[in-house]
Structures are given as structure tokens and as C-alpha cells.
């Protein structure tokens, strides 16, 4: 009875909005710590549960976290974006923003959990971990946990394998027969996953059972003795539902929402899954519109699975390498990511993976000028760590499954009477083996990847005014020298944005009631003040395409007549505006 009362009391405390206690945190230091919102990070959650976690956070931290619906999916699920910042220090759109999304591919579910983790980690540690506090005060996070909610819902609800349900759910005629989605896979053995079919074909197959582990099959290559295998693989579990002589060739959907974005987009026959025009599906279009409407977005992370990669563009070789200054930013963050994410490699999409036309992160960089990454969460190398000898070969999944999951990830081969093939065997790994980690490794994955996005957010530009110096030039004239500094890695305008004229140029202004600005410009030499790239017009409001470089300075000199109080100011799209008073004696 007492225990019950205590639990109720705790629940009550959790439900009511509470002011965060500054001495409590859940930074990752485990001894004696307890988060205010308990989320079991050893599970994967369905669409509603993901939102429920975030809604609990909104309920407890309404001052920092808010939700908006930016559109609806094909099956009319809400497309939600959660905005996280401290509005007391400025509105969300006046601060540099980090966009984090997950699950654009329906089956790549764990990105959703990683997005929730970003919100949870920041909120749990606000007020206790100074760097978190600074970030929540000084930056904004736009968090979209599921870019493909329909695909996610289907992956949880329906029978799938690790790679199916990548698409959304809009009907698509994959096989060009005029019928839509009429021949998907079928869960013949009812185990909730789409596994494999094999048939015993003595003397005419190309496979034989592995003598040590008959769950595995070994290829029998053609040989001079004429020995052939006894087994034939028949592909994924299913029927030829439409009677066209092919199995499972037209499942629900059949497109790729990460081939739908405008930069370098190519039509279906060049890039499968692209759709009839860019941003064809509502899920993609509402996000692109959100990005365009929020020029304060200065960093993008899009969580996918799997393979352990930190990916950046370009997606296609002929697009050419990105400008050198931006590559330096990418490299610094990417290499840091490799350190933060063991078993992950920092890679260039076209070069190290494959060509992709119309990806979302390449759009974010190439069209919007935003430094952006795709992380591919989970690498099967992580199953056994460095013990490579145990981690090699086709049996690795079995070894892991047998030892650490008591064999639960594998549906043993069982006989099935197939209407076309006769007696076959059905079996194989379940949908949550191979591309998502087992429960006990999920927390590590979400933490490391969330912290990489948070690290990326810390790299967003932060401008300060280092010094303002007024010099008397005689004859009532003064020079005002101002040094502006960007303290962070990412420039206020990426080289791409500067080259292509994306967004607004940075603005450096001087205003004062009693002064007349006669000239103004950017100093090209730190020691020789007369070397000045001075503006042809509007010297009081200088514009710069290049902005302020990462961890660098811009020095401005104004020549003015007059006296009194004045204000110098920097204003740009991707950092908070700063100003400082100047007094002309």
C-alpha cells in the first residue's frame, strides 16, 4: 500500500510541470543520477509512442519545447516538428538553428529515437551542464523525429524484413502493369517478418547446407566433377499474387523520399524512386518549405540506418567537390564524428558509397548553403567489437544471435506447402536483425549520434564584437575600427552560399544620431588601416557575401564626422545579431 502511494506521488510529480532543478542532470554520468522523464532507451517505439515521449517532454518543459504540425503524410499522419530553445533569451527564429530529422526511410526507424534523445538530453541537462545551457539559450533545435511516419508505422505493424517499408505508402505501379501495389511479400509462416524461401532440389540446386550449421547454405560453384547443390533459394516469402510470373514485385509504395529533393534531382529512369517531379510526396514538400521559411537553419542532420557512416555530399561525381573552405568545416566535424562514433566512417556519398541524386542533405547544402550530414546509425561490426575473427563471415549474425539473443532473432527453417513451388522451407532473420541494433545497444547508439548532432549545433556561428576603437583623425573626423569575430567552426555564410548568392548577405552597420558616415569598408590589412575595401554606397550599412569565417575575424573601419553615441551592429541569417555602443568624444 505504501509503495503504491509512493508511485502515485511520483507519477503526479512527473505529470505536473516542474521547474528544472539546477543541481540535477543526466549528462551521461551515471552514479546517483536520475532523469526527470524516464524513457527506456533500450527499445524502439512506434509512431504514436515517439510522439508520446516528446509530448511528455513538452508537458514537463513547456518553456523550452513546443510542437507544430507542418503537414500530413500520405496516410494523413501528422508531420510534427518540435522546436527547442529558451525563448526567454530570444525567439527561435533569431538564433542559429540545428535541424535534426530521422526515419525518412520507413524501415530506418532508430533515427526517430535518436531525435527524441536530442530533445531529452538537452532538456534534462539544461541549467546543470553549462554547455547545454548555453546551447539552449543561444541556439534553436528543430526536431522532426519521423520524416516518413507511414513507412515507420507499416514497418512496426506489418510483416517486413530489415530493408522493406523504405518507401512511403502512396500507391506506385512498380512493374508497369497498370495495377498498383498488387504483389507485395506475404508472411506465409506468420512470424511477423518477411524471411526467405528455399527448396530442396536434389542434384539440381546451386547451394548445399553448411555441414557445421545447416541454417546456413554454401554456394556450390560449377566444377569439373559435375557436383551440384541440393538447394535453391526462391527469394522473399510470398506468392505471385497477380499471376504475372514474378513474386513480390509490386509492394505498397515503391519510391524513395530521399531521392526527391531538388538539388541535382534526376527523373525516375536515372534515379529510381525520384517520383514525377521533385518534392512530389507531401512529407518531403512540407519539410522543404519549412527549411526555406527558416533561413536561420545553420546545421542539418538526417539520421538513417545502417552501416556506420557520417555522410556528406556531393551525391554525384560530376557535381564537383564543394568549395575548399566548406570542405574544411565538413572535415573537422566529420573527423570529430569518427572519434565520437566508433565503427563509423566519415564518407563522401558519391565517392565512398554510391551516386545519389536528390538527397535531402545535399539539397540542404547545395541549395540552402547549410552544412549537413547524414548519419547511418548502427554498424554490425559493433556486435563483437574488435574481435574480428568472430565477426567475419556470413555466420556472424548467427553467432551473435545465438550467444547474445538466445537465438530469438532467427526464425528456423520450417516446411511450407507453396501453391507454386510445392514443398519449400521458410526461415531467416527477423526484421529487427541487421539494420537496427539489439535492445542493449540502442542507448549507446542514440547517445553518441545525438551528441554528434549537438556537437554540430555547437559549431554553428556565434558572432561577438571583440573591440571598438575610435581614433581622432583631426578636423572633426574620426575613424571607428570594429573587430567582429565568429567564435565557432561554421562561417556565418558558407562558401557555397557566398558563391551562389544564397540567402541574405551579412550586414555590418553603424548608426548614430549625431554622426555622418562618410566612408566605410572592410579592412584588408590588419596593420595598415588605410588598406580598406570601402563601399561605393551606403557606407553605414556594409554588406558581405563572405560573412565572417569560422573562428575568424572581420575588421571594419568607418570614417565619420560628428560626435555622440553610436551603435555598431552585425546582422546575418545564421547567427544571433550583436551590437555594441560606441562613444565619439
Amino acid at each position: 500500500m505504501n509503495t503504491l502511494l509512493l508511485s502515485l506521488a511520483l507519477l503526479g510529480a512527473q505529470a505536473a510541470p516542474a521547474t528544472p532543478a539546477p543541481d540535477k542532470s543526466f549528462s551521461g554520468l551515471a552514479a546517483g543520477a536520475a532523469p526527470r522523464v524516464e524513457i527506456a532507451w533500450n527499445r524502439l517505439y512506434d509512431y504514436d509512442e515517439i510522439h508520446a515521449h516528446l509530448d511528455r517532454l513538452v508537458a514537463l518543459y513547456p518553456q523550452f519545447l513546443s510542437m507544430q504540425v507542418i503537414g500530413h503524410s500520405v496516410e494523413n499522419r501528422e508531420m510534427r516538428v518540435y522546436t527547442l530553445t529558451n525563448p526567454a533569451t530570444g525567439a527561435h527564429d533569431t538564433k542559429p538553428a540545428m535541424w535534426v530529422d530521422g526515419n525518412i526511410h520507413g524501415n530506418e526507424v532508430q533515427g526517430g529515437e535518436a531525435v527524441v534523445y536530442v530533445a531529452w538530453y538537452l532538456l534534462e541537462n539544461y541549467g546543470a551542464v553549462p554547455r547545454v545551457t548555453e546551447l539552449v539559450d543561444g541556439a534553436t533545435f528543430y526536431l522532426c523525429p519521423m520524416l516518413n511516419p507511414d513507412g515507420r508505422a507499416s514497418w512496426f505493424r506489418d510483416a517486413h524484413n530489415a530493408s522493406s517499408s523504405r518507401s512511403g505508402r502512396q500507391p506506385f505501379d512498380d512493374d508497369g502493369d497498370g495495377l498498383y501495389d498488387e504483389d507485395g511479400s506475404d508472411d506465409l509462416d506468420g512470424d511477423g517478418s518477411i524471411t526467405q524461401m528455399r527448396k530442396y532440389t536434389p542434384g539440381v540446386g546451386n547451394l548445399r547446407l553448411n555441414p557445421d550449421d545447416p541454417r546456413l547454405m554454401d554456394p556450390v560453384p560449377p566444377n569439373e566433377r559435375g557436383v551440384r547443390g541440393d538447394w535453391t533459394m526462391l527469394g522473399s516469402e510470398g506468392f505471385d499474387n497477380d499471376g504475372d510470373g514474378r513474386n513480390n514485385e509490386d509492394a505498397v509504395g515503391g519510391y524513395d523520399m530521399n531521392r526527391a529533393w531538388p538539388s541535382g534531382w534526376q527523373p525516375e529512369w536515372i534515379q529510381g524512386g525520384a517520383g514525377p517531379y521533385p518534392l512530389y510526396w507531401p512529407e518531403t514538400r512540407c519539410v522543404a518549405r519549412f527549411w526555406i521559411a527558416h533561413p536561420n537553419i545553420a546545421g542539418v542532420q538526417s539520421y538513417h540506418n545502417a552501416g556506420g557512416m557520417i555522410l556528406r555530399g556531393p551525391g554525384y561525381e560530376a557535381f564537383g567537390e564543394y568549395p575548399r573552405d566548406d570542405v574544411a568545416v565538413y572535415d573537422e566535424l566529420g573527423r570529430d564524428g569518427e572519434a565520437m562514433l566508433p565503427y563509423y566512417r566519415y564518407m563522401i556519398i558519391w565517392k565512398d558509397l554510391y551516386s545519389v541524386f536528390g538527397g535531402s542533405v545535399t539539397y540542404a547544402y547545395e541549395s540552402l548553403g547549410v552544412i549537413s550530414f547524414t548519419n547511418e546509425l548502427w554498424n554490425t561490426d559493433q556486435m563483437f567489437g574488435d574481435r574480428a575473427e568472430q565477426n567475419s563471415g556470413r555466420g556472424a549474425n548467427h553467432k551473435f544471435d545465438d550467444r547474445l539473443l538466445m537465438g530469438a532473432g532467427f526464425t528456423p527453417w520450417r516446411k511450407f506447402n507453396h501453391p507454386l513451388y510445392g514443398e519449400v522451407e521458410i526461415g531467416g532473420f527477423k526484421k529487427d536483425v541487421g539494420r537496427v541494433p539489439p535492445s542493449f545497444l540502442i542507448e549507446e547508439m542514440t547517445h553518441r549520434n545525438a551528441l554528434f548532432a549537438i556537437r554540430h549545433a555547437e559549431a554553428m556561428p556565434k558572432v561577438s564584437i571583440v573591440s571598438t576603437v575610435v581614433s581622432d583623425l583631426g578636423g572633426g573626423l574620426s575613424a571607428i575600427d570594429v573587430e567582429f569575430r565568429n567564435e565557432r567552426i561554421i562561417p556565418t555564410r558558407t562558401a557555397r552560399a557566398a558563391q551562389k548568392g544564397i540567402g541574405k548577405p551579412d550586414l555590418f552597420t553603424l548608426e548614430g544620431a549625431g554622426i555622418e558616415v562618410l566612408a566605410g569598408g572592410f579592412r584588408t590589412d590588419r596593420f595598415r588601416p588605410e588598406r580598406l575595401d570601402f563601399a561605393e554606397r551606403e557606407p553605414a550599412a556594409l554588406r558581405s557575401e563572405r560573412g565572417i569565417p569560422g573562428r575568424g575575424e572581420v575588421r571594419v573601419r568607418w570614417i565619420v564626422r560628428g560626435r555622440g553615441d553610436a551603435t555598431v551592429r552585425w546582422q546575418g541569417e545564421k547567427a544571433r545579431a550583436v551590437s555594441a555602443p560606441v562613444k565619439l568624444p
Binding site: 505501379d173 512493374d175 508497369g176 502493369d177 497498370g178 499471376g243 504475372d244 510470373g245 531538388p262 538539388s263 541535382g264 534531382w265 534526376q266 527523373p267 525516375e268 529512369w269 536515372i270 534515379q271 514525377p276 517531379y277 521533385p278 518534392l279 522543404a288 526555406i292 554525384y316 561525381e317 560530376a318 551516386s355 547545395e366 541549395s367 551562389k500 548568392g501 544564397i502 541574405k504 548577405p505 550586414l507 554606397r537 550599412a541 554588406r543 557575401e545
Partner: protein, 591 residues
């Protein structure tokens, strides 16, 4: 269930076969006795008027709204079809006008086509066309830009979508064009400036040509669109509030980050609506677009079907299609006499998207432009024109042409002026340069070609031109691919075993899929289903054939099956396509 449909399909196929004959007949009858309405001038009209006329049309036309423009004007089509049971399932032609927005006359032209089809629906040519073909007409695909032709100040400008900061000064749209001299038209402004790149054409000082520095020519004039320099950056009218253009906003060869392209393909509501119009009507096989572009007079750039740069295709029309397009070019030239080339490129255009991404036949027509030909005219007319020039243009020293060292050709603009001078009613097309004291630039001159001067044929020419365009349109229906089952026979092999043979034929000129459709796979293959009743079973053969390629002019596909069937009534063949009709048959015993 299948019988009447099969009969209808055969009738259609027959009609299709007949069309080439009566297309010629039509050409003759038009020459002999043009309908009364054809002699009425076809003149540009505001969107509201086009809309009212389209709505009131009735008859064989069905009002088909399909969206709204950015400023909320209704986007509409007319579906014109005969008495067929399901006209929306017939192979279809789509006529689209003025996607550019600067070609308002073509909107009147397209609407007049629709009106002609309705008025003449009972004539054999038209009724045969409509029995076999559904015609969609979109008279005004870009109404917001269209309306500039009828605004208090006329401005020939395509852009209707969001603006960018063209001059990169941190402000967007702060320095638009304006009608400084209050003549109700945005023309040009020229200023004497050593930075200028232009000189007056020595053969007609009203025309401007680029100074050729290699010939020692130094620029005299800087030329701008008429307007203020509101942001005082010494550039005039360089930052309009609107930049994105509907006909640069399609996905094919879209130019990323160009101001006219829009934020992303299909961001413009007019663009998106037109794309969806086509996607929702897969029966459309051919598109005729009236606008600034042309691909009939001038043979478009062609590329080999496999011309890829790595994975990305080279821009252009695939060779096999270019050959057929050239045939249309010949027919077009014969029927209309149009000889001038079109304007503009392919980047982001509707015409290119329809062909390159959707695999549709895309005929791009620019019906009229200011002629470059030297007009025939009398000696008095010539001297008169000269006298007028002298009054309007700055003083021009008389020179003996023999003294000129270079025998230069008149510039294209000078040629256009020659035509204007020769046609008394056409003087509106050029606004003589007149001195103007500009608030920011000081002394300058305002003048030049009037808005829409190159886009509106003279009223006296318009009826004849429209009739010729209409005549060309009428010939197109017969060419659309239309597949049919030419033979479906059964040979008895003893017992109830039969060998079936089927032959599918496309008698039309155009192939089932053009080369673009074959590579884009945007048009689905024809589907041939062997349908067996309860008393029949398949012994050998494919129950379903997907036929992707089928040549025009008699291209065929043959298939064989072995079936057991007590009665051939149980053995049926069904043919269905996306845009080439359908057919069905019951097997007949072979003779």
C-alpha cells in the same frame, strides 16, 4: 460485357485509319469555303473574358477547372470530346497556351480552337476527330502574367513567383520597373554612358546593337528597362519584387539557384497544377504548346537515345523522335507558312518536361513574331516612313551608303522596324526614343519596342493565322498511336486443345511509345491479358504480356498460346493501354 466495348474499340481503330484521308479533305474544304467565324479577327483578351467565354461554351466542351494561380485566378481547361461513352479514356491531345505569360495572343488562339471545335463539331472532319480523340485545351496557363497585357501599365514580363535579391544588396524587390513617361507601357531607357555596351545601328538609329570592340566600336548607350533607380545603385529596375517564372519552374533541365527558376521545381502553383493535370490524365499522348518556343520550324537539337554523360542524359530530343518531329515541321510549314524561329531555351520549361520526363510528344509552336523579311512597298511609302523617322529619332546625318567601309547587314531590330514602317497600322509596336529627365540618372531617352510588339499578330492577319493553326491541329488526331487486336484465332489441334495466335497492330503514324517514353518508362506498356473462362485452361504461353515498344505505321506484336477449351467463348483477349486505346476479342476458329 466485352462485346460492345470490343466493337467500339474496332470502330475507333477504323476511324483512326480513316483520319489521314479526311485530314486532307479538310484542308481542301477549308480552302474552298472557310467558315464564317474564321475571318473574324482573333484578338487578345483578359483572363476573365477568356474564362467567361470558356465557361459559356457548352456543346462538346466540358468545363474543367484544375487549380488556381498564385494570385488566385482560376486555371481552367476545356475537355472537348464527341459522343464516346467514356471520352476521358480516349487517346488525348492537350493544347496549352501562354505558359510563358508573355504570349497572351496565343490564349485567344487556343480558346478560338476550342470554340471552333464546338461550332464545327458536326462537320465530318471534326466529328471524326472527336469520335476517336479527346482534346483538352488550356487557353491560359499563366493568367497572372497574362494580365499584364491588360493592365493600366503594360509590361511584358514572365515572372509571377517569389522574388530574390537580384542585386545582392540585402533587399529584395526594391527597384522595380516603372512607367516614367506615363505612356502606359514599360519600354526601355537608354543613357549616354562610357560604360555602355550599345550603339545605334548605323542603318537605323532607332535600333540598338552591341558595340563590336573587335571592330573598334565603342559603346555609347547603357540600356535598361524603363524605371527608377530607387536604391541608387546606378542600376535601373534591376530588382523586381517577383522573379520566379512558371515556364522556368518545371523539373526538366531546371536551373538551380537562378532567379527565374523558382525555389524548387513545381513551387509555382501554375506549374504544379499543369504537372498534375497531365499526371491525372495519362491518356494524353501529345501536347501542342503555343508560346515563345518553337521546335517545328527549327529542328531541335537531337541526341542519340543512349547519349548519357555517365548517368545523366544529354539534353535534347532523342534522334528517332527528332526525325518524326521534323515530319511535323514540314506539315506545319506547309499548312501555316510560318518560317520564323522561336525564342528562349529549354531550361525548366513545360515543353521540355512534357517530352523529356513524361515521354509525351511535345510540339512547341510560336505562331507569330515581327517579320524580318523586307516588306514589299512603294517608293512613296518609303520616303514617307523616312520623313517620320526624322521627326521622331535624333537627327541622323545623311550618308552616302557607298561611303561606308563595312557593308553591314541591318540588325534584326532594324529589319523589324522596316516592317513596322511599311505597315501603317503597326506603328504602336515601336515607341520613338524621346528625351527624358530621369530623377536619378539625368538626361536619358525612353523608347524602343512596345510590350507585346513581337507577340501579337496584326488583326488583319490573325484570322488567317488562327485558321491555319487550327487546320494543323486537326491533322494530329489521326497520328496518335492506337493499338488494336488485328487477329485472334484458334486452330483446333484435336480434342479440346487449341493453338491461339494473336496479332496486335498499331496502324497510326506514331509509335506506341516514343524514344523518350521508352527510356523514361513514364508511359506504361500495353497490357495483353489472356482471359480464360471456367471451361478453359492454359497449357502453354504467357497469361500476361507487357508490350513496351510497338512501331508506328503498322508495328506489330504477335503471341501464341496453347489452351484447352471446350468452347472458344471462354477464350478472350483483352488489350489495354495508357494512351493508345483498348480492345478486346473472343477467339475465332481459324479458317
Amino acid at each position: 460485357m466485352n462485346q460492345p466495348r470490343a466493337a467500339a474499340a474496332r470502330a475507333l481503330a477504323l476511324a483512326a485509319l480513316c483520319v489521314p484521308l479526311f485530314a486532307q479533305a479538310a484542308a481542301q474544304s477549308d480552302e474552298q469555303a472557310p467558315p464564317a467565324s474564321a475571318s473574324k479577327p482573333v484578338s487578345s483578351a483578359p483572363h476573365a473574358e477568356l474564362l467567361a467565354r470558356a465557361k459559356a461554351l457548352g456543346g462538346v466542351a466540358t468545363w474543367t477547372p484544375y487549380g488556381r494561380s498564385r494570385q488566385g485566378r482560376e486555371l481552367f481547361a476545356l475537355r472537348i470530346a464527341g459522343a464516346a461513352q467514356k471520352p476521358e479514356e480516349l487517346p488525348a491531345i492537350l493544347v496549352v497556351a501562354n505558359v510563358d505569360g508573355t504570349q497572351p495572343w496565343t490564349s485567344a488562339l487556343a480558346l478560338q480552337h476550342a470554340e471552333q471545335l464546338v461550332a464545327r463539331a458536326a462537320e465530318p472532319t471534326v466529328s471524326a476527330l472527336l469520335a476517336s480523340t479527346c482534346i483538352y485545351v488550356v487557353p491560359c496557363a499563366n493568367p497572372d502574367a497574362h494580365e499584364r497585357r491588360f493592365a493600366a501599365v503594360q509590361h511584358e514580363r514572365e515572372a509571377t513567383g517569389p522574388g530574390v535579391d537580384n542585386d545582392r544588396d540585402g533587399r529584395s524587390g526594391e527597384d522595380p520597373a516603372s512607367d516614367l513617361n506615363g505612356d502606359g507601357r514599360i519600354t526601355q531607357l537608354r543613357v549616354r554612358d562610357p560604360r555602355g555596351e550599345w550603339i545605334a545601328d548605323p542603318l537605323d538609329e532607332r535600333a540598338l546593337v552591341k558595340a563590336d570592340k573587335t571592330k573598334g566600336e565603342r559603346g555609347v548607350w547603357r540600356v535598361w528597362t524603363e524605371g527608377r533607380d530607387l536604391d541608387r545603385d546606378e542600376r535601373v529596375a534591376e530588382d523586381e519584387p517577383l522573379d520566379a517564372c512558371v515556364n522556368r519552374n518545371f523539373a526538366a533541365e531546371w536551373k538551380e539557384l537562378a532567379p527565374e527558376s523558382g525555389a524548387f521545381p513545381t513551387d509555382e502553383p501554375e506549374t504544379l497544377a499543369l504537372c498534375e493535370f497531365v499526371l491525372q490524365r495519362p491518356q494524353i499522348a501529345l501536347v501542342v504548346t503555343y508560346g515563345a518556343f518553337d521546335n517545328l520550324v527549327e529542328k531541335p537539337k537531337s541526341v542519340a537515345a543512349d547519349a548519357l554523360q555517365k548517368r545523366v542524359p544529354q539534353a535534347g530530343v532523342v534522334e528517332a523522335d527528332a526525325v518524326l518531329l521534323a515530319e511535323y515541321g514540314k506539315r506545319y510549314a506547309e499548312l501555316t507558312g510560318v518560317k520564323h524561329k522561336g525564342r528562349g531555351g529549354d531550361a525548366g520549361s513545360w515543353q521540355t518536361w512534357a517530352y523529356a520526363h513524361r515521354g509525351l510528344w511535345s510540339l512547341a509552336i510560336n505562331p507569330w513574331d515581327l517579320p524580318l523579311d523586307a516588306p514589299e512597298k512603294s517608293a512613296e511609302a518609303k520616303s514617307e516612313a523616312k520623313a517620320e523617322d526624322g521627326a521622331a529619332a535624333p537627327a541622323k546625318p545623311e550618308k552616302d551608303p557607298k561611303e561606308k567601309k563595312d557593308k553591314r547587314e541591318p540588325s534584326e531590330d532594324a529589319k523589324r522596324l522596316r516592317w513596322i514602317d511599311a505597315n501603317a497600322d503597326e506603328s504602336w509596336r515601336f515607341v520613338p526614343w524621346q528625351a527624358f529627365e530621369h530623377p536619378e540618372l539625368g538626361a536619358c531617352e525612353i523608347g524602343g519596342f512596345a510590350p507585346f510588339a513581337r507577340n501579337e499578330p496584326p488583326a488583319a492577319r490573325s484570322a488567317e493565322l488562327a485558321a491555319a493553326q487550327f487546320e494543323f491541329l486537326l491533322t494530329l488526331g489521326a497520328d496518335l498511336p492506337r493499338v488494336r487486336i488485328e487477329e485472334f484465332t484458334a486452330k483446333a489441334l484435336g480434342g479440346d486443345l487449341h493453338e491461339l495466335r494473336a496479332r496486335i497492330v498499331n496502324p497510326s503514324r506514331l509509335p506506341l511509345q516514343n524514344a523518350s517514353a521508352l527510356r523514361t518508362e513514364a508511359v506504361r506498356p500495353a497490357r495483353l491479358d489472356l482471359e480464360l473462362g471456367a471451361g478453359a485452361s492454359l497449357v502453354a504461353g504467357e497469361r500476361l504480356h507487357l508490350i513496351r515498344a510497338l512501331d508506328g505505321s503498322g508495328g506489330r506484336f504477335e503471341a501464341r498460346w496453347l489452351v484447352r477449351a471446350a468452347s472458344l467463348a471462354d477464350v478472350r483477349l483483352k488489350l489495354s493501354t495508357q494512351h493508345a486505346g483498348s480492345d478486346a476479342r473472343v477467339a475465332e476458329l481459324a479458317r
